[in-house]
Amino acid sequence: MKRAVVLAWQYLRLAVMNELQYRMNFVIQLFETAIALVTALVVLSLVYAQTDSLGGWSRYELQALLGIYTVLSAVVRFSIQPNIERLMTDIQKGTFDYVLVKPIDAQIQISIREVRVWQSIDIIAGAAILLDALFRLGVTVTFGQVLLFGLTLTLGIILIYTIWLLMSCIAFWVVRVDNIFELFDNIASAGRLPVDIYPRWMRVILTYLVPMAFAVTVPAQVIIGRINMSNVAIQAAVTLGFFVVTRFVWTKALVRYNGASA
């Protein structure tokens, strides 16, 4: 495990060194972030010009949620997505073989190799939106709340990671699965809004099938002070469940890759 942490740190260092060569990417990313955030905030203010509450969420509560959503989706683009994409191309090109001949867990290896450094701008931007929202809501946040928020956010990130990996395991059976990620991207963007505002059937999908509700809504509830411990417990249980299932499917996928079933 210690080796895995050192290795992840090395990959991050290399990615930083590599990306520093391309300053233009930084400018472009800054620009993209600005446009995305301004659009989202304008839509938010337009909606709340018509109504005071959406599914029981006030304007700035929803802005806090938007901040968390921004942070999480930036984490996806910062690390999760590039690693999964690398896994896909490795499987297609056969270079995945090099992962399997190294004496370190294959799942750990494929999860830490890629980092898109400039995506960290979005993480900072998301955090800023969240802080602004909390300031405008005038809530006081306790230390315990911050800890719980950190925990639920981390669980959310792990949950999203396991879902991405779970889907990419399909690549071991069917080699081209790029379209699935687009579908997932679309469903995931539903996490931009709290699950409470969706109709019941959609809420079920978002909660149990693609548990964005747990990834985004639970940390938001914690930080704005609507703590519901049973939600937190369910989030932890769902995350653990997905993690175990993903590990199992991953192991099966490796078996499939080396043709043990044939």
């Binding site: 080796r3 050192v6 290795l7 090395q10 990959y11 290399l14 060194m17 590599n18 060569q21 090109k93 056969g94 270079t95 073989d97 090099y98 399997l100 001949v101 190294k102 004496p103 370190i104 078996v255 080396n258 043709g259 043990a260 044939a262």
Partner: protein, 322 residues
């Protein structure tokens, strides 16, 4: 000494979907897919002693790469068994992976945009080297391969030959005892091929490592391998010394004579394959060589005579064609 690699009745069958060309067939195969069983490796057996360098030969699609992949733990055999260093490769025991390496000439293992030295640092963490071991292994490889000037250049700026040398250094950082080399010299120019070849030989000498090498370049095999294992259609067709292969499968020799005799004179003894201003080459059955040579020397004035085996490529092509 007991064998370091032990392969017995190893088989690997793949189910491959088949369909005829055309749109209608493509739709049909979506619903009702037909499979064909491809016997990539079909009962291969051999043993390799520690320190041997084996040329693993065969035409494209013979099952060489599939066998190497089973030996390096990437593929699970359909049946049969193989053990390397006492381990069953597909269990991918880390203790096994630390002692072997796989180099594939057609696939890149270095980080493309960064200097090779950075990828070396990653290998150091993956294999968990201490500082002094890492430095010593790295220095030895850099010296052996002449890599010093290449270490600081981004990999994408290296030539194919330079990159392959660097790949070798990376793949051997952990001083593996068993090397699986799948066409390591493919696409390289003559000089680079020669460098890689020399390096493999030196590494084998210095560390007593066992090497299983596939290559389409006979120069690699002639320079490095005392023994060859040849497979075709998934079965071993020859296992023995290179000289023996030539002996067994090359039924003819060529006799080249510098002489005053005419082409017609020599055509009595065998097929004339070359005639150039008094230097004539004829092809003669192996068993007839002593008799023909004596006859020519007795009947004609000869200033020079030499007897040659056919080129190894020709012998191998002949075995493949059987």
């Amino acid at each position: 000494m007991s064998p370091i690699i032990h392969v017995e009745q190893l088989r690997k069958y793949y189910d491959v979907p088949i369909r005829d060309a055309g749109f209608v067939q493509a739709v049909k195969s979506l619903v009702n897919r037909q499979y064909n069983t491809v016997k990539a490796v079909d009962g291969v057996s051999f043993e390799i002693e520690p320190g041997e360098v084996i040329g693993f030969l065969g035409p494209n699609g013979a099952g060489k790469t599939t066998t190497l992949k089973m030996l390096s733990g990437l593929l699970h055999p359909t049946s049969g068994s193989c053990t390397v260093l006492g381990y069953t490769p597909f269990e991918r025991d880390y203790a096994y992976l630390r002692q072997m390496t796989l180099v594939m000439g057609q696939r890149n293992n270095l980080l493309w945009d960064l200097p090779a030295g950075d990828t070396f640092e990653l290998a150091r963490t993956i294999y968990g080297f201490g500082d002094s071991d890492y430095q010593r292994n790295k220095d030895a490889l850099i010296e052996l391969l002449g890599l010093a000037p290449l270490m600081t250049k981004p990999v994408r700026n290296l030539s194919l030959g330079e990159r392959m040398k660097t790949e070798f250094a990376l793949s051997l950082m952990h001083k593996p005892q068993v090397l699986f080399l799948d066409e390591p010299t493919i696409g390289l120019d003559i000089t680079a091929q020669k460098h890689i070849r020399q390096f493999i030989g030196e590494y084998n000498q210095r560390y007593g490592a066992t090497v299983l090498l596939t290559s389409h370049y006979m120069a690699d095999v002639e320079a490095l391998c005392k023994r060859i294992v040849m497979i075709n259609h998934g079965v071993v067709v020859f296992d023995g010394a290179l000289a023996e292969l030539v002996n067994r499968y090359a039924p003819s020799r060529t006799i080249t004579v510098q002489t005053t005799a005419t082409r017609a004179d020599l055509a009595l003894h065998g097929e004339v394959t070359h005639d150039d201003d008094g230097t004539i080459t004829i092809k003669v059955a192996k068993a007839d060589v002593p008799r023909v040579t004596a006859a020519i020397l007795a009947a004609h004035e000869v200033t020079d005579i030499s007897i040659n085996e056919p080129p190894i490529e020709d012998v191998i092509a002949q075995v493949y064609g059987r």
